[in-house]
């Protein structure tokens, strides 16, 4: 029996080696994989800052007083940048149409006079909301700047000195931000991108390896060999899973930790065990794709078709609480949901098995189901 096992293992080893060799002989594919795990994650982490950053604005100052200049002066970097002072409404609208500025601030005449007299004045702002997120940010920050300026003027107007400032009933903010104290965007974006890349490649590579055999007809050679379907399939999953794990290690240590200084709070060993589990689950889906398609064009389309809902339901873009109720339930079918939760928990929150065992068990269960389904389909086709 042990002889049989040894033979089984040696065949498995030989086939895995064959897959790895085949992978290493497509240099452009290798370069692209390396690119995905390093440069792509770097670009995603460094490129997107979902905050207001030097937003170009124009100002129409109808007052030209010390008070209005003082207010305009506060619209400055890092949030805003004053680029133009249009002379007419027409010119202002044209600037907005062309996208040269994101907002036009309109200060009314008698701004200073009203302030000094203690009358409320209204400053108008036209915001380009064609990008809704930016429009919201612009008006939020502008509102904050104007409110703060107004509050200071009010205190001046009421003649409050330092001593009296202690004696006003206000609620002050004391924020404490957990897990990412400086709210560094790269931490979130880079990890999120790494999870996406792992998902994409562990779906695509095993499926591509299996379908290539079909497309070139070499599957017939394998079918007449003494190999069982499992011995044909498992090596593909093993070889590609290995490549993905090595890539994940590279991006975790070389990019996420070394470049973006994410403090890996939890155990990186635990992270890799979990990643292996996840890769195994998604490659089951990949094999399923392979059974459906006859050529690589179909594989690619199906990968995108399956990956998009996985990403949507992962919680990486939209957290569960912001989802409609039925989608929140559907998230539990997406392996990426468990993977995302656990990755952030391990890498940023420092969670261990004590907290994560349940999620891990659920992922293992879901993964086995998916993988078993993929193998079952494949066996039916080639058994």
């Amino acid at each position: 029996m042990s002889g049989g096992l040894r033979l089984w293992l040696s065949r498995l080893g030989a086939m895995t080696l064959k897959e790895l060799k085949q992978l290493s002989r497509d240099p452009i594919l290798l370069v692209v994989i390396v690119y995905f795990f390093t440069a792509d994650i770097y670009i995603a982490g460094a490129g997107v800052h979902m905050d207001l950053n030097n937003a170009p604005i124009a100002v129409m100052d109808h007052d030209r007083s010390a008070a209005s200049r003082e207010l305009i002066y506060r619209f400055r970097p890092p949030y805003f940048r004053l680029v133009r002072e249009p002379q007419s409404i027409r010119e202002a609208v044209r600037l907005l149409d062309e996208g040269k500025v994101l907002a036009v601030l309109d200060i009314p005449a008698h701004f200073q006079r009203d302030l000094l007299a203690g009358r409320q004045t209204v400053v108008q702002m036209q915001v380009d909301a064609s990008n809704a997120m930016l429009g919201t940010l612009v008006s939020t920050y502008a509102g904050r700047i104007v409110a703060r300026y107004g509050f200071e003027r009010a205190k001046m107007h009421l003649g409050m000195g330092k001593a009296q400032l202690q004696a006003i009933p206000v609620v002050e903010n004391r924020h404490r931000v957990y897990y990412n104290p400086n709210q560094s965007d790269p931490w979130f974006m880079a990890i999120s991108e790494m999870l996406t890349v792992i998902t994409m490649l562990s779906l695509m590579l095993p499926a591509a390896a299996a379908v290539r055999e079909k497309e070139r007809g070499t599957i017939e050679q394998l079918a007449v060999s003494p190999l069982s379907p499992a011995q044909i399939l498992l090596p593909k999953v093993l070889a590609m899973g290995l490549a993905v794990l090595v890539g994940a290690a590279a991006s975790l240590f070389l990019v996420i930790q070394a470049v973006f200084h994410v403090p890996i709070k939890g155990s990186s060993m635990l992270f890799f065990i979990m990643t292996a589990l996840y890769v195994f689950a998604t490659s089951g889906l990949g094999l399923f794709i392979a059974t459906l398609s006859r050529n690589l064009g179909q594989v690619v389309m199906l990968v995108i078709l399956i990956m998009m809902p996985l990403l949507l339901l992962s919680g990486a873009w939209t957290p569960p609480e912001a989802m409609p109720a039925f989608l929140r339930q559907a998230m539990h079918v997406s392996p990426l949901f468990y993977f995302t939760e656990m990755s952030y928990a391990i890498l940023l929150k420092g969670a261990g098995l004590g907290v994560l065992w349940r999620l891990m068990l659920e992922l293992a269960l879901l993964g086995s189901l998916v993988f078993a389904f993929g193998v079952w389909r494949f066996r039916r086709q080639f058994g």
């Binding site: 490129g47 009203d114 209204v122 909301a129 064609s130 006859r294 609480e321």
Partner: protein, 384 residues
Amino acid sequence: MKWRRTWAVAWKEWREVMRDRLFFAMAFVVPSMILLVLGYGLSLDVENIPFAAIDYDKSALSRDYLHRFIDSRYFDYRGEARNVQQLDRLLAASRIRFAIIVPPRFQERLAASRPVAVQSLIDGVFPYRTQVSKGYVAAINADFSAHLLTDAIAQRQGIPRARARQFVTPIRLDARYLYNQAIRSRWSMSSGLIMLVLMVSPPFLTALGVVRERENGSIYNIYASTVSRGEFIVGKLLPYVVISAMNIFILWGFAVWLFGAPFKGDPLFFFTASLVYVICTAGIGLLVSLIVRTQAAAALLTMVITFIPAMLYSGLLVPVESMGRETQIEAHLFPTLYYLRIVWGSFLKGLGWPMLWGNVAALVAYAAVLWSVGFLSFHKRPRQ
């Protein structure tokens, strides 16, 4: 270049695509799918943030204060916690994203006209949401303070509350949103994503189409035939351009009818510009197909060079003006930037040829360069 031969290549390619039922269906399903999933999924509206509170004061005023959070549609109250350790556990398990702690003697201090600091704990995993949550908290606190201050001033100086209110907030900002009055992120996203989808899908189709011939070896039939390289390239790409042109209509329909985005511009202008854009992105696929040898590599390389520019350098998430100088130059090297201006200009701003012709010209130039490079580097006699 003979049109008859070009036509023959195009017809052969069209039949091949049509016979691959799955591929043909996917050529239409996948672009719509990307638009639907991202259109619904990339919702950046921050609402229903789950939160818990600790009220150490338990006074009328502290309850009144907490109700400003509980009643807000931005927050979703998940109950009161006993102590900070419990809050930490809830935050660690992602059961809540935010917690607020009202200190003891909250009412007493405020009644005595003294400031009070209220501690809030915020989950920082997703920085954008953290930033927005912080903004909400600050706004509620400011509003509550203004309310208290108005009362205090009215009392202290013996003036009516309305007058005191004017003292407290001497300037009001009146923001008006142009092009998208209700700032619906669905409007921006669904239309903006047309740019992304048409950047990604035509290159996929063309690159896979050309590389498949090479990987299967059927390209030798072309090498041996009388078809010239120009005829081959044009004929080969034509069906994919046609499919993508049909997708323009489908995507436009989804954005307008499903997501309710308004289309204020000139339809003829929009479809002409979109066709130029599709020809341009199909050219990207042509270049990819000349570099790679296998379809797997073609798919991944296309993903790399189309998805990232469309997401990051187009202005969809970050406006070009807010980028650093180098990034701005990079952004101008991709066609996505010009086309996004055309899309948002046509959909939301109601612009046409007079304002946007420069962007169309940039796309035409881009397409001309891509197709010329593709033409010049395609050889019927592969060099050994």
